[in-house]
C-alpha cells in the first residue's frame, strides 16, 4: 500500500440531520479510517463544510470522491492538492512548569497562553498539522496534562 498517502477532502453539504453519517458511512463501509473531521456551518448559507483528513490510494480516493458526490445532500467535493491547511491544539500544563518557556514555544507556533487557573494554564497554538505535531513533541518535557486537537481545516489556494 505504498501510495496510501495522506489526503485532505472538503465536502460542502446541506446542513441537515443525518448528513454527517451519510458521509462517514462511505468511509467506514470501505474499511477506511478518518484521521480527522471538522464540520461547521458556512456563514449565511444553508450549507456546512466538512474537512476530512484520511489516507488511501489515488484510485480509492477518486471512488470515494465520486460516491460522496452521489449523495443527495452533497453540493461539492474538493480533493485538495494545493491548499492552506491549519489546525488548532489546546494543551493544559501544570502552573508549576516554566511558563515563559511554554509561552515562547507557543509563539513560535502562532499561539499563546490563553487561560490560567489556580493549578493549571491552557496554551493554544494554530498552525499546519505537521507543525502542530512538532510543537506537541517539543512540549513533552513540560508535562502536558491534556491535549486536544481540532482536526485540520483547509482552503484551496
Amino acid at each position: 500500500m505504498a501510495d496510501e498517502a495522506r489526503r485532505v477532502i472538503s465536502v460542502i453539504v446541506i446542513n441537515e440531520a443525518s448528513v454527517l453519517s451519510r458521509v462517514t458511512d462511505l468511509f467506514s463501509g470501505r474499511g477506511y479510517n478518518i484521521t480527522s473531521l471538522t464540520v461547521a456551518p458556512i456563514p449565511d448559507t444553508k450549507y456546512s463544510r466538512l474537512t476530512i483528513v484520511t489516507s488511501g490510494s489515488v484510485h480509492i480516493m477518486e471512488q470515494i470522491t465520486k460516491q460522496l458526490h452521489k449523495l443527495i445532500p452533497v453540493l461539492r467535493v474538493y480533493e485538495h492538492e494545493d491548499m492552506v491547511e491549519k489546525e488548532m491544539a489546546l494543551v493544559k500544563f501544570p502552573i508549576t512548569e516554566n511558563l515563559s518557556d511554554i509561552d515562547t514555544l507557543c509563539q513560535a507556533y502562532n499561539g499563546k497562553i490563553v487561560n490560567t487557573g489556580e493549578n493549571i494554564v491552557i496554551a493554544m497554538v494554530a498552525d499546519e498539522p505537521t507543525r502542530v505535531n512538532n510543537f506537541l513533541k517539543a512540549i513533552k518535557r513540560y508535562n502536558p496534562k491534556e491535549i486536544v486537537r481540532s482536526g485540520a481545516v483547509a482552503l484551496e489556494r
Binding site: I14, S18, G29, Q63, K66, K70, I72, L75
Partner: protein, 565 residues
Amino acid sequence: MQISGAQMVIEALIAEGVDTVFGYPGGAIMNVYDEIYKQNSFHHILNRHEQASIHAAEGYAKASGKVGVAMITSGPGFTNAVTGLADAYMDSIPLVVISGQVPMSLIGTDAFQEIDAVGISRSCTKHNYLVTDAKDLPRILKEAFYIARSGRPGPVHVDIPKDVTAQIAEFNYDIEIDLETYKPNVKGNPRQIKKAMQAIATAKRPLFYLGGGVINANAADEVRELVHKCGIPAVETFMARGVLSHDDELLVGMLGMHGSYASNMAMSETDLVIALGARFDDRVTGKLSEFAKHADVIHVDIDPASISKLVNADYPIVGDVKNVVNEMLAQVDVVNADKYATWRETIVNFEELHPLTYHEDSERLKPQWVIQRVGELLGDGANISTDVGQHQMWTAQFYPFSRPRQFISSGGLGTMGFGFPAALGVKAAAPEKVSINFTGDGSILMNVQELMTAVEKKLPVINIILNNNFLGMVRQWQTLFYDKRHSETDLSIQPDFVKVAEAFGGIGYRVHTKEEFDAALQDAVAKGVVAFIEVIVHRMENVMPMVPAGGSLYNMMLLEKKESK
C-alpha cells in the same frame, strides 16, 4: 388544504399516478392503512411477507418503467424489507418505500417495534428520509419520487413516525422540486461524443457492451438503430437481456461468467469496447487485468461513479444513454459498417466453434430444454422472471428474449426468493402477458407464501420449478472446486410441490416428460390460476460455459463435446 399526514401519503400517491401499492400493515403504519381503506384510486396488494412486497414492487417497476411503491410497518416490517431495498439498490430499480415508525416521542427509547430504520437503509437506498413534521411530507414525497426515477434510478425510503401520520398540516403537492445539490447530468459532453465516434470509425474490431442502463433509459430502440447503422456486433450483460432481439444477427449473446464462448472471446479480442449503461461487474469481467486487454474503452453512463470504477475509460461520457445514443446517431455517418465484415466473420466462427447448447438425456429432462420450450410456446407473449441459481443462468442463456423489460431477475444482489413476488408485480403491471417465473427447488421455498397473494389477487403467475433436488449452483461449485463435497446442498427432502400449490388454492403439476410438460404449460395458461409446474430435471447438469471466479474470460470451462442436439 389541511389534512393529516396519512391523508397526505394517499394524496401524493394519487398525484404521482400510482395505480398499485404493495404492502403489509402493522401498528406504526395503521393511520395510513386506514386511509387506504377509504380510497378507491389505487389498488393495494397484500403480500404475505414484507420482503415479497418490495420484490413485487420491483417487478412492477421493471415491467412498467414506473416507480414501484411499497408500504410497511416499523421494526420487523422494515427489517424484513431490507433485502428488497438492497436488491433494488444494486439493480437501479426506482422504488418509493414508505415505512411506519414509532411516534416521535418514543424514538430512541427501545419502544415496541422500534428500529433505527433510516440508519439501516442509508447504505442500501439511493436516499432516505425520516419525516419529523407533517408539513414537510408533501415536499419529501415529491422529492422521493423524483429522486427514485431520475438519474441512475434507485429505491428511496421514507420513514414516517405514527404521530406524524396523525398530525394535521397544509397539503400542497403543486410545488417545484428544488434540489440544488442533486442535478443528474443527462446530456453527454458533445466533444467527448465526437471523439468517441471518431474512435469507433477508426477501430478494427469494435464491440458494443450493452448493460441494464439501456433498459432503464428506455433506449433500446435507439441502441438497436445505432448497432445496426454501425454494423458492429453487440454483447449484452445479464441485466440487458432483450435490448437486442434474440434473433438479431448482430447480437453475439450474453457475456461474463456464464456468457457464451463467442461473447467472451469477442470481448477478449476487441480493440474498442463501447459500453452503454453497463458497470463492468465482476461477474462480467472475470479477471480485470485480462478483461478486454487489447481495447480502448468508451463508457457511457448516467452515474459518474460507475465510470473508471473498475476499468479505465478512455472516452468517459456521463449522460443518459438515450440522449447520448441519439447524439451518436446524428454523427453515425463517420462509421463505415463494411469495414467490420472480417470482424463479424471472426465472431461467427467463434459461435460455430462452441455454440451455446447442451446435451439431451434420454432418462430425464434437461432444464435448458424446458426453458427453450417455453420460449417456443410463449415467446414474446410471456414476461419472464427468475429466482437465483442455475435456472436463472439457463434462462438468461436459453430464453429467446425479444424486447426490453421482458426479463426480470435479481442481478446485482442475487436474491433467492426474488422471482415469485417479482412475477406478481410483473403480472400486475402487464396483465395481458403470461407471467412466468423460472425457479428452482431451493429458491421457490424462499417466498412460497406468495401463493396466497396470487390466489387472493388473482395473479396467475406460472412458476416453473426446475427440480434437481439440489441447491444447484452451489452444488455445481462444490462439484467443480470443492472435490465433490456437496455440503448441505442436497435437497432430497422436499415438500410435495403439487400439494403445496393446491393447499393455497393454486394448481400443481409434476412432469417428467416433454409431452407432460407441454400439456401442463398449456393447461396452466388456459386455467389462469397461479400454478406450480414441477419439472423433474437431470440432477447433475452444470451451467456451461463457465469462467471460474477470478479467471479470465477467454479461459472458459466448456461443454464437453458430444453429439449435441
